[in-house]
Symmetry: C2
Subunit: 703 residues, 2 copies
């Protein structure tokens, strides 16, 4: 089933050797044997123990050297020193995959790091895959192949289900499994990668998606390694209609530092991580509880056709709070049709609210099957894409079976039409939530958590509806010679060669030549030098020049200002048309050493980095993603005609970003940074008014 | 104990009449008697039933007319029609407080609204307080006086505790009680106010705070009514060291509309509500779960001395996630002293992280009292104000008693020093959380919820440390004559009379007079008319005039532009100095019909409403609140020297806002709106460059 036979052996072993096996279940080597028995593993188990003939009733081998040929999986639980020998022996015996639970390697010191590199070299030399070291192992809940010492497996009788948990941290993997168990759903795979000397989270995410039994991957990373494999995995998930959910910790500088202190990894720029995950449809959660809640929706629901919510509650107040939360999370409140309202009025008591949210009131106590009539009416409304059923305090006189039946029936029926149904029970009897969950309805005990999870799901559904961008359009992106910063004129010429709408201008050498430039007034004069990035601060810009004499004087002044400030080399003076009206935005790009090209769109002006009103995008870009990015900026209302102003040409801005992003990606890293700021968005078109290009130094950065 | 004897009788009745009493516990009148017995009410219970001699074994009265004198509380459970007679009878018999559970009043139609007004008139005529109608009643868990039909009281054996729940919605009050019960703490009072014909949430919040047994009030409102009483209650809470926590639903327009549909109340502007609650130290939650979590911290913790967090976890990953969350919520991560690090290094295994977060690793299994040594070291660090203990997966080999003892001991000891201790158990054994809660440690099952609650608590502690502003400083605020908009010149003259730093300028009638104005160049010329609020759009502004001839020409042009546009009346031309450099902000004020004066500070420019980069403040202002508001704006880094620019005079901006806010409040509503935009913040001082004042129309708005 899986492309890599080593990973297949790791995830679904038929034979397991335990190196360091013990009779004592309080020792790790004993606990593993106990887990294999308790979870019903029926494959071959081969205990290895240097002093015993049998362990836990099974014949034991004295050393890994005596393993039969081609064991699928060996688990090494000995101390670090012995682990090195064991790994060598396993590799020589043709073991397909080896889990090294032992610590004392890269996480400890430089010597451990060296030993760890040796383990990997040994494994690779023999084509054996290696999980860990310093990891909590792997489990397959379908076969019972539990080769982990996590106390998660002791605390809970975990069961098979549609989720794979793949985590750098064993403790986090354990918490996720516990949350999964609390919500009465199961998991197929559980893997904790530890030091990731060989097998990575990205590879495992990719591999577990091949299992038809897996619908959702819950991933935990502190550092995104193996980016191309993660991209491939995300594409596979999209193709197969599965979801990858992730907590990427270390989002803040302090968090990243803390993560670094126990994994040694470097901080990754948060805005780029965010853009990367969004680009590839990896759904991000901020806490394990949120991840678990998201998973409940993704495990049980078909993609939603839209983001318009209809809310039904037995508490007016709960309905209002959910409406507030829905709007705050980017969902819309459905405007019910007249027909729906009439249908609701016919079945609800006269004092009930038939708007949205619908308040069925305590009447549900008298009419246990009130939802039978209310829910289908709401879910049949063409404007309702998502039905949220919120129940507060379900007393002893509520007929829980009837309510469960009604909600579960709607959930099953509506899915085929792309209508999502989720439930909330706040402070109610626990049986209600349990029965709903057992019937496959995603159920929450907190209204805001429900709304948040559903909002992320609806965003993901929208992403699935979008046509994926072509892999990488073959475009030509002319490049300048040299390295380092280009002057404004050279930068703009490059952008012109890329087909971008740049303000017209000429490079001239003298005030007289400036005066002779044949462009319509008013004009702008700027000193032109690769060493004058911040011209305004230098006094090297003159705006609004309305005749030749003013242009000549301005040219002389900016040249003098440049010389006074010691600017060198001075290429001359750029004389260009002055752009007026519209709204200033900025468009930029940088080449990230890990993630490659990133494109920025945001508000313009000198303070874009300070105000942080921007969004990053990762090429190849699709139009919908760019539109979405522009919409997410605080300045967006200015572009669409705030304060009664005429709406501006947002389409042209989107075209510019698409074209710019394509070409920047096509440079393959030859340019390290471009800053187009400001770009004026006008009522008809856009125009780049300033540009700054930095060419990468090939000696420092691999293009 | 309470000022209002009617409210005292409502909240702590010694005698209770049940009008509509029944033997049948499935009926409301029977359920009430059952609750009174079950919850151990030992006062007098007087069933009223028109056809029975005894009810539930108690002698019954035929009618409320036969009640003895001065019964504390009567509960009316009959249909609406009979309820009106019952209320009249109760009022005549000198009942102190009456709870009308019956519906069919203001929530139904205009006739119900009339009937409701009658109830109130009857009650007021006899000095009787009235809760409801259409409410779920009131309960005192100390005395067992449960006069509510909420199934909350059936589902759970609620117990006495330090919380009062006061809610417009009965269902919400029920959910809050259930959450309180789930977290093993109790409540003293439970009140649902329903239609609030007489007794309001604000009054009840004020009243329950008088009870020494109440530490925290959990309030739910969809509309803030009775604002002065709420202000008084908040002041009382501050004085007594108690907290008022609130969910104010209807924060979005759609939410407010939904709330209005079942309470009839109007939407309240969210930014003003937010400012009001912040001003008065009312801690806001966005969901009931969040409210309940906040309550756990406020119930059990003394105010924190600061916001620097030290995190201890048995999972490195959990520690990293909490560090991320702490920074996102405005907390700081404490930088541990060298001494603390050394102390930690001495007790932790070599591979454990001794930075912050501290990772004690699974070593706690081998050393159950590891926290005994780690926690005091962390809590003794002078840089740690808050200790968060986060435990993920606590396996069967963990010594839960030892861990609980260690955390609870620290919680008790550290409180005296203003150090807050809270705990998180994610996916762990439920006993751990239960035992910690039983020992008074605020405990969460979600790391991000814990951090959020602790962050709000730390903010409240900071608010408590601030000196409250003087009630209302006695300042003179000169007022202009007339109504409606003032011209820019008149607006600026008013601001000068308030002592604000306004850019120097003169009002002149002609181009010649403009040319003669004796102010240093460059100058600005603007058309001056109360009808020309948007001068730039009119072409009625000229900037950067450097000599008398340019000034004269500009004056002629703007006058012509005004006449062409039909502007009338034209007061003349304002000639003023041109402000250069610095950063533009805006300062404004409006007089809200419910909340009174509100003051705005935010980014400047024409698009302040679009970009929404502002914060509202409610006078009287204190310096710390203004500083905090300025800091919360996205432009703040520009004021403090971003991009290596020199830092600007933020103190002068704060002074301006304080002076402006004082004077605006002193107008008593005579001015409806002021907009100072832009105000330039310079390296030395601030200057108001544009001003617009609107005088209230006394015919339309009561000053």
């Amino acid at each position: 089933m899986m492309a890599d036979p080593g990973l297949a052996a790791l995830l679904d072993p038929k034979s397991i050797a335990v190196v360091g096996a013990s009779d004592d279940p309080t020792k790790i080597g004993g606990r593993l044997l106990r887990f294999l028995a308790d979870y019903g593993f029926t494959g071959e188990v081969l205990p290895v123990n240097p002093t015993r003939d049998t362990v836990a009733g099974l014949p034991a081998l004295r050393s890994a050297e005596h393993l039969p040929d081609g064991v699928d999986l060996a688990v090494v639980v000995t101390a670090a020193g012995a682990a090195r020998e064991a790994v060598q022996a396993c590799a020589r015996r043709g073991v397909r995959a080896c889990v090294v639970l032992s610590s004392g390697f890269g996480e400890l010191d430089a010597e451990g790091e060296r030993a760890q590199r040796e383990l990997v070299a040994t494994a690779r030399a023999h084509g054996m895959r290696l999980l860990g070291p310093n990891c909590q192992g792997v489990a397959n809940l379908a076969s019972g192949a539990v080769t982990s010492f996590s106390s998660t497996f002791t605390n809970f009788g975990l069961r098979d289900g549609p989720v794979a948990i793949v985590s750098q941290s064993g403790a986090v993997a354990g918490m996720l499994a516990a949350l999964q168990h609390q919500h009465a759903t199961g998991l197929r795979y559980w893997v904790a990668t530890g030091n990731e000397a060989d097998v990575t989270v990205a590879e495992l995410v990719d591999a577990v998606l091949d299992d038809p039994g897996v619908r959702v991957v819950q991933a935990y990373c502190e550092h995104l390694a193996d980016v191309p494999r993660l991209v491939a995995a995300a594409a596979k998930a999209r193709r197969l209609g599965k979801a990858v959910l992730m907590v990427k910790a270390g989002a803040t500088e302090a968090g990243a530092r803390a993560a670094g202190s126990h994994t040694g990894a470097l901080a990754q720029p948060e805005a780029v991580v965010e853009a990367f995950l969004r680009r590839h449809g990896v759904v991000r959660a901020r806490s394990l509880t949120e991840l678990s809640g998201l998973s409940r929706v993704f495990e049980t629901c078909a993609p939603a056709r839209g983001n318009r919510v209809g809310i039904v509650s037995n508490s007016g107040g709960l309905g209002v709070m959910m409406a507030d939360a829905a709007l705050a999370e980017g969902l819309e409140l459905a405007e019910l049709t007249g027909g729906t309202r009439e249908a609701l009025r016919a079945v609800l008591p006269p004092f009930a609210a038939v708007g949205n949210p619908v308040d069925v009131t305590g009447q549900i106590v008298q009419q246990p099957h009130l939802l039978t009539r209310v829910l289908p009416a709401l879910a049949a409304d063409p404007w309702v894409d998502i039905v949220l059923v919120a129940l507060g305090i379900v007393g002893p006189t509520y007929d829980i079976d009837a309510i469960t039946d009604d909600i579960a029936a709607l959930h099953a029926e509506a899915a085929a039409r792309g209508v999502l149904v989720a439930a909330v029970s706040v402070g109610g009897r626990p049986e209600l939530a349990e029965r709903l969950a057992a019937r496959g309805v995603p159920t929450f005990d907190d209204d805001s958590a429900c709304v948040r999870a559903v909002a992320r799901f609806a965003e993901h559904s929208a992403w699935l509806r979008r046509t994926p961008p072509p892999a990488a359009p073959a475009v030509a992106a002319p490049l300048p010679p040299g390295t380092g910063l280009l002057s404004e004129h050279a930068s703009k010429e490059l952008m012109v060669s890329w087909g971008l709408p740049v303000v017209s201008g000429r490079l001239v050498a003298s005030p007289a030549a400036a005066a002779a430039v044949d462009l319509p007034y008013p004009l702008v004069v700027k000193l032109c030098s690769p060493a004058a990035a911040h011209k305004t601060e230098l006094g090297a810009v003159r705006l609004g020049l309305t005749d030749a004499r003013a242009v000549a004087r301005a040219a002389a002044e900016v040249l003098a200002a440049g010389r006074t400030a010691g600017v060198e080399p001075i290429e001359g003076v750029r004389v260009e048309r002055m752009v007026r009206g519209g709204v200033e935005v900025s468009v930029g790009a940088t080449w990230d050493p890990v993630f490659g090209p990133t494109v920025l769109v945001g508000s313009g002006g000198v303070h874009v980095e300070v105000l942080r009103d921007f969004r990053l995008l990762i090429p190849p870009l699709d139009r919908a993603a760019v539109v979405d990015a522009v919409r997410s900026c605080a300045i967006h209302p200015l572009l669409t005609g705030a304060r009664g102003a005429e709406p501006l040409d947002v389409d042209a801005l989107v075209d510019l970003v698409l074209r710019f992003g394509e070409r920047f990606a096509a440079t393959g890293g030859a340019l390290s940074e471009i800053d187009l700021n400001p770009v004026f968005v006008l009522s008809d078109g856009v125009v780049v008014a300033d540009a700054l290009v930095r060419v990468a130094d090939p000696a420092r950065e691999e293009p």
